[in-house]
């Protein structure tokens, strides 16, 4: 414990240099701007900045990305409150009560609630990262191929089931992502799969160009197709968070922080699911249910706390299992790997300093977010006034640079374009994109562990089900699939009701 605190202290002190603080300030500000502008998402911001910061020192580069991630998730609430348009998908829930508050002339108070909820949510998540990451990493050290295989499958299924929308389409997107990950040289015989003599394709599909395509290019096209947005409220009252609001809704904050962090830990779900789940839980428990959707302070607080607590939560599985908890965390994980760190159970043994540094980075980013949240109201309003016709071509140019920057292959620009167009069409067809990206990330882990497990067991699938952790993961995965089939779900519910009904009868 004391050694951990001392390592955290030295990591924190290591970042207290003028150059580092300068990076924190511009990166957090950039993140807030990216989050605030409709059409730009946290995933795109982190993916783009990964490519643009890879010549920086690795500590500084990861710090910049953490700041962009934390800032972008918070920034989305600005446009949700002032425009009724979520700046990022994570802020969709904040429009429900944020915008009604702004229309009542309470835009400043809404932003204050958003700032305090978001700050506390991230802080709650950071405490969970610090407490649970070492424990989970230690547990993961005993995992073998069978368990890692099920973690991969569980990630795809749970992301498909809970990422929002249609679970069936989530599964299809997830398995499509897994198949895309098999394109290129395979690990056992260096055979070029699905490349058909195309040298560029033999190298495989890069995660970052695909991410930039799905979350950047597709967003540009969506923004240009949709209606233009207008700032409806330029008059802003005091933005200082009220301590009374925080104290009154302390239970909501605690509950939303816990839900947000837990959803962050689950593979591929992300901040939007965290916000909706926290909001729903707050509504169920609230004494003022009727105010939800009409400008409820509690509702906005719950959504903001939940989505911001999800950010550190999504980093926990990245550090312990090499499985991203959200789409921006997938980009962050790619960046961590590009900078020669190995996320997964061995990270706490080989490079434990990275864990303490990431905790310190999250704390610093959260503080910078609070400072900007209290001061940057007018400049953000001006940024929101930039018409999309002028912003989107610049974003597309940045996407092109970002896709090219790491491997310097024009092929990656074409990959970005392809994924952008496919991502746009799939979104229009209501396919969630998080499982697709998670499939792309988990493809290698899943294939290696499936084949290794089969080789070790001489082709027997029994160990995949009979080992304790494998068995539990398999059961949860199968249950999640059954739950997404309506007739099966009805039967499960009826069965549970019958079971409890019989239990209540007198003997």
């Amino acid at each position: 414990m004391l050694e951990g605190l001392s390592q955290f202290g030295s990591a924190f002190a290591g970042f207290m240099t003028p150059g580092t603080l300068f990076n924190v300030l511009w990166a957090t500000f950039l993140g807030i701007v990216i989050g605030a502008l409709p059409g730009l998402t946290a995933t795109m911001g982190v993916a783009l900045m990964t490519t643009l910061t890879f010549t920086m020192g690795r500590d500084q580069a990861i710090l910049v990305l953490v700041c962009v991630y934390v800032g972008a998730i918070y920034g989305g609430s600005r446009s949700a409150i002032l425009l009724n348009i979520p700046g990022t998908p994570a802020s969709a829930c904040s429009t429900l009560d944020g915008f009604p508050l702004a229309r009542q002339g309470l835009a400043g108070r809404a932003m204050g609630i958003s700032t305090s909820g978001s700050w506390l949510g991230t802080l709650f998540g950071i405490v969970c990262v610090a407490l649970f990451t070492p424990l989970l990493a230690e547990a993961a050290l005993s995992f073998q191929s069978y368990e890692f295989f099920w973690i991969g499958v569980f990630g795809i299924v749970i992301a498909g089931t809970l990422a929002g929308g249609d679970p069936l389409k989530g599964y299809i997107a997830g398995f499509l992502g897994l198949w895309i990950a098999t394109i290129g040289q395979e690990p056992h015989y260096n055979y070029h799969r699905f490349a058909y003599g195309w040298a560029d394709l033999s190298g495989g599909i890069g995660l970052l160009p695909a991410l930039v395509g799905v979350f950047g290019v597709a967003e540009v096209l969506t923004a240009m197709r949709g209606p233009a947005y207008r700032v409806t409220s330029k008059a802003v009252d005091s933005i200082l968070p009220r301590l009374a609001d925080v104290w009154k809704y302390k239970r909501t904050i605690f509950r939303s922080g816990a839900i947000g962090t837990f959803i962050g830990v689950l593979p591929g779900l992300g901040e939007d699911t965290a916000a909706w789940s926290s909001y729903a839980a707050a509504r169920r428990a609230s004494q003022e249910k009727e105010k939800f959707g009409k400008g409820s302070v509690e509702g906005l607080m719950a959504a903001e706390t939940g989505e911001s607590a999800c950010v550190p939560g999504a980093i926990i599985p990245v550090l312990t299992l090499a499985v991203p908890g959200s789409a921006p965390a997938a980009a962050l994980m790619a960046a961590i790997m590009i900078h020669d760190f190995k996320p997964g159970p061995m990270l706490m043994i080989e490079t434990p300093q990275l864990f303490y540094q990431i905790v310190a980075m999250l704390v610093i980013a959260d503080m910078a977010k609070l400072a900007f949240g209290l001061t940057l109201v007018r400049p953000l309003l001006w940024i929101l006034l930039v018409p999309r016709e002028r912003l989107m071509p610049i974003i597309f140019v940045l996407c092109t640079v970002g896709a090219f920057a790491i491997t310097q292959r024009v092929f990656d620009i074409y990959v970005m374009l392809f994924f952008g167009l496919v991502g746009f069409v799939m979104r229009e067809l209501k396919f969630p994109m998080a499982p697709l990206i998670l499939g792309l990330v988990l493809g290698e882990l899943l294939e290696q562990n499936l084949t290794r497990g089969l080789v070790i067991s001489s082709g027997s699938v029994a160990p995949f089900f009979t080992r304790p952790v494998s068995g539990v993961l398999a059961a949860i995965t199968i249950f999640a699939i059954l739950w997404s089939i309506p007739p099966a779900q009805r039967k499960i519910k009826a069965g549970v009701r019958g079971l409890f009904g019989r239990g209540r009868r007198p003997a």
Partner: protein, 180 residues
Amino acid sequence: MSEPEAQSVLPHEAPLPPRVDLVTAAVFFAVGIAIVYASWRMPTFYEQLQQTYTAPGLVPALYGIVIVLLAIWLAARAIGRGALRRGDERTRAPREGYSNLRLALATALCLAFAVGMVGRLTFWLATAIFVFLFILLFEWRKDQPWRERAIRIASAALIGGGTGAAVVLVFTRLFLVRLP
């Protein structure tokens, strides 16, 4: 398998007409079959390790089979929801403010920049032309007075040139990133 209505988890998600889902299922069925066929044709390298668990086509074939099964599930669900029923073709109401013309123009401009200009022109020039054309075309109004139009053209040129110069300076000097 039939259900009265598609369920949506999030409030902002609206279900698609079942016929669209049926067509989507057909596409994914074809994709899945193609994956399985291509995987089947891959060598197994059995002679090297005397086992097939590491055969290159094994895992992609598994994914292909799952995609085919999921596509059949999607198709069956769409049919259950009335995709083949005549006179019950639920179509989505056009969304207010959405324009396919704007989408086509944006797609064409992005493709022209990424495929046509990048690599053929100096990057700053390609960027300047792309940004200039994008702003100009999207802000073009038929009934605009010439003075206002001239101002818009000038500002588009200024933003285009400024973006080209800024991108080159920031990325090559500050981030030390090579440009296409």
